[in-house]
């Protein structure tokens, strides 16, 4: 009771006491907050953070500039020396902070002269700031530059496609011409232009370097890139090889239809792939011609033409996915013994021209035209041999035709892209039963050169300039004027106006004539006893570079001889390959369309055993295989095969 009264009497004092306690709490909390705020305020947190950021970014810069210096001098100590100075300098730059920077795992590396090349630097850092109690703040700085040559190819001029990336594979998009140097094998340092864009096909940002002075596919390119930081990378590519396959169409007694169906094999750049049997031609195939489309958009398109015993021509076209056949597309004559047809593409339009004794058809990439009747010989006569040549100069659709009729008359004709004109009787040949005619264009001038073996034991040539015929033929003595020239083969240097003519004469001598653009120089009797005079047992072909020509001929059983010719040294001594069983009534050589390919020239040879073997020329060595293509063509009397190279590399 007493206590209760006391409480009741002093209730107001408790209010004051409570208020006093609240006031003390407010002041205490305020003092604590003030202390905390003051600490953060005057301990210069912002400045510490700024220093940390500055040191981090500066360290990255040191690594970058060390990499730049390293790629210039290849001095392994560059990074270490710079980092040692940096850690000392950074301490001096922020005096009073107790700043200590250490580093570890500092590495420099480069991997150059490859398709994917890079330069890289890396270091780990540890930062202590004693004044704020910061210890063990770790970070890593790295710098790199990576260059990838995606591909290079001739598209009018040399185009090199590459990507440039820095660390974290971030695309480097601020480079200009001055950041690049380009070196091309065979050309040295070349002038160029640079374009950069986002490529949808590749899906990333790339640089396109155009080198207008480079017009043929080089064996390798080297691109030096120095980015805005001064970091250098040297990238080289010699492995960006896009294969240009070849095809051989041939007759064999294999498959379902035996000799009635032509067979094809594809050269993949290294070997001949397995045989494919095409649809039946209706009767046994005697002659085969093959051609590839010269237009890039239809790079895959090829045509195989057959002439069969029934006298009909059959056309097989590869459209990229399958073969389509047009049987009996034209009739020549019953049981034809001579190759009285030929097929050739127009260079620019990509339209193919098929010519036979009494007419022609064209192929526009999807359909064959109707037959246009055209009689070469007047009065009408069966034409035994027809050969076409494509004018190789830019923008042309001209095709030259040489024909030999049953009366041994040699005809010249010009296809202007839409019709034949300029018919001329070139002369009289020594025979109508051997292909003693040939035609080829000079590669630079575009002059069509027609040659034929005359009945007077002389050989003749006459040129079509593109607008007029030479006023008269030029005669030259291939065999010493002692016999007749019976088989001719004429091939053009793809880089100049040079031509080389091969002749197997009636006494089985092998002779050649070199055309320098204005006159013939004869080299007689490379061999005085070749395998046969009844078929063309020899052939020659230029390498794409034009610097060398290869001639191969059959000279005795199991042996093929060969020589090379260069503008500087002329003909080499005779070499040979052995183990090629039998004699070789037919030899054929064709040039590769790509200079980057190791195989410069492919060949095929039909032996007396009816084996169809292969020949490969890598520029120095001729390799033969006796029956790679087939072990039985079923005939040796006809040139029942032909090789054709794809004109463009396969897309990558």
């Amino acid at each position: 009771m007493r206590m209760r009264r006391l409480v009741e009497q002093k209730r107001g004092q408790f209010i004051v006491i409570a208020a006093l306690m609240i006031a003390i709490m407010i002041v205490s909390i305020g003092a604590i907050m003030y202390g905390a705020v003051t600490y953060f305020r005057y301990e210069r947190w912002e400045e510490y953070l700024a220093i940390v950021d500055n040191v981090k970014l500066g360290s990255s810069r040191v690594v970058e500039m060390s990499l730049a210096g390293y790629t210039l001098t290849l001095d392994d100590e560059t990074l270490k020396n710079n980092l040692d100075q940096w850690r000392s300098n950074v301490t001096k730059a922020y005096p009073g902070f107790g700043l200590t920077l250490t580093y570890s795992d500092a590495t420099l590396s480069y991997y150059w002269s490859n398709k994917t090349s890079f330069s890289a630097a890396n270091a780990s850092f540890n930062l202590d700031i004693a004044s704020v109690g910061l210890t063990g703040y770790g970070f890593t700085a790295s710098a790199s530059l990576r260059v990838v040559i995606l591909e290079y190819a001739i598209d009018k001029d040399l185009k090199i496609y590459l990507t440039v990336e820095k660390e974290d594979l971030t695309p480097v998009t601020n480079l200009k011409k001055g950041n690049f140097q380009v070196n091309v094998t065979g050309y040295g340092s070349v002038d160029f232009s640079v374009a950069r864009y986002y490529d949808v096909e590749y899906g990333f940002f790339l640089y396109e370097i155009s080198c207008p002075s480079v017009s043929s596919q080089p064996e390798s390119v080297t691109v030096t890139v120095v980015d805005k930081r001064g970091v250098k990378v040297i990238a080289s590519s010699e492995s960006v090889i896009r294969r240009a396959p070849a095809i051989i169409g041939y007759r064999s007694l294999t498959g379902v239809n035996l000799g009635r169906s032509p067979k094809v094999r594809t050269w993949n750049g290294t070997i001949w792939l397995s045989e494919s049997e095409l649809q039946s031609a209706g009767s046994s195939v005697r002659f085969i011609r093959a051609a590839y489309c010269p237009v890039a958009a239809r790079y895959y398109e090829k045509i195989v033409m057959t002439l069969s015993e029934d006298g009909y021509l059959d056309a097989y076209v590869w459209n990229g996915t399958s073969w389509t056949v047009t049987n009996n597309i034209a009739f020549t004559t019953s049981t034809p013994s001579y190759r009285m047809f030929d097929i050739e593409y127009e260079k620019t339009s990509g339209e193919a021209l098929l010519v036979y004794p009494n007419g022609y058809r064209t192929w526009n990439g999807s359909t064959w035209s109707n037959e246009i009747q055209y009689i070469i010989a007047t009065p009408p006569l069966v034409v035994n041999w027809i050969a076409l040549a494509q004018k190789p100069t830019s923008g042309s659709n001209e095709i030259a035709l040489i024909a030999l009729d049953q009366n041994k008359v040699v005809h010249g004709l010009i296809w202007n892209g839409s019709q034949f004109s300029e018919h001329i009787v070139l002369g009289n040949a020594q025979s109508a039963t051997t292909e003693c005619i040939a035609v080829a264009y000079e590669s630079k001038s575009g002059y069509a050169t027609f040659v034929w073996a005359g009945a007077d034991k002389m050989c003749y040539s006459r040129q079509w300039s593109g607008s007029v015929w030479d006023s008269s033929a030029v005669s030259f003595d291939l065999n010493g004027a002692t016999t007749l020239d019976v088989w001719l083969s004429l091939k053009a240097d793809p880089t100049s106006d040079k031509l080389m003519l091969l002749d197997v004469d009636n006494t089985m001598d092998l002779n050649t004539a070199y055309w320098d653009g204005s006159s013939w120089t004869v080299t007689r009797d490379h061999d005085k006893d070749v395998d046969t005079k009844d078929s063309r047992c020899a052939d020659l072909e230029w390498e794409l570079s034009g610097s060398k020509l290869l001639m191969v001929w059959g000279t005795s059983s199991s042996k093929l001889s060969y020589k090379t010719w260069t503008p500087s040294d002329g003909w080499s001594s005779e070499n040979f390959i052995s183990g090629m069983t039998g004699t070789h009534p037919w030899v054929q050589l064709r040039r590769n369309s790509l200079s980057t390919e190791p195989t410069k020239i492919l060949g095929a040879t039909l032996s007396s055993n009816a084996d169809l073997g292969s020949l490969t020329w890598d520029g120095t060595t001729l390799t033969g295989a006796v029956d790679t293509i087939t072990t039985d063509t079923g005939t040796t009397g006809y040139e029942c095969f032909e090789i054709a190279f794809q004109r463009f590399a396969n897309p990558t």
Partner: protein, 138 residues
Amino acid sequence: MRVVEALLASLLIMVAITFINVFAVTPSSPAYEASELEKVGYNVLHDLDEQGLLCRFVYNKEWENLTAALMASLPPDAYFNVTVYYLNDTVVNQGVLIRYGDPDIFESSDSVASVSYIVPGYQANYAPKILVLQLVRE
């Protein structure tokens, strides 16, 4: 009797709150100003450095470009004065002013912010230099 006690209690609380407010720092104070300017100044230098511009300006002595870049990056009412030093404290931009605003304001203002920034070099050349950026509001 209780009214007097209530008044006394209220007075105690008001005195406590007033005491606390004495130590409050308002955003308009000189200390606050300097701190903010330091942050802005540092961020601007850092951004220029990240873009690779700061090194280029300093090592190629592109002082006009540096001035223009700072004018474009800093707030319009911020005046600045930059001095570039070698590590031995000699001035790199000797005789060249990298400045925006009335020079007297840096002497008279009581809220001048100062930012130090080290750049290690340019491209392959390691040669550190220190920038001192002074900032003051108009």
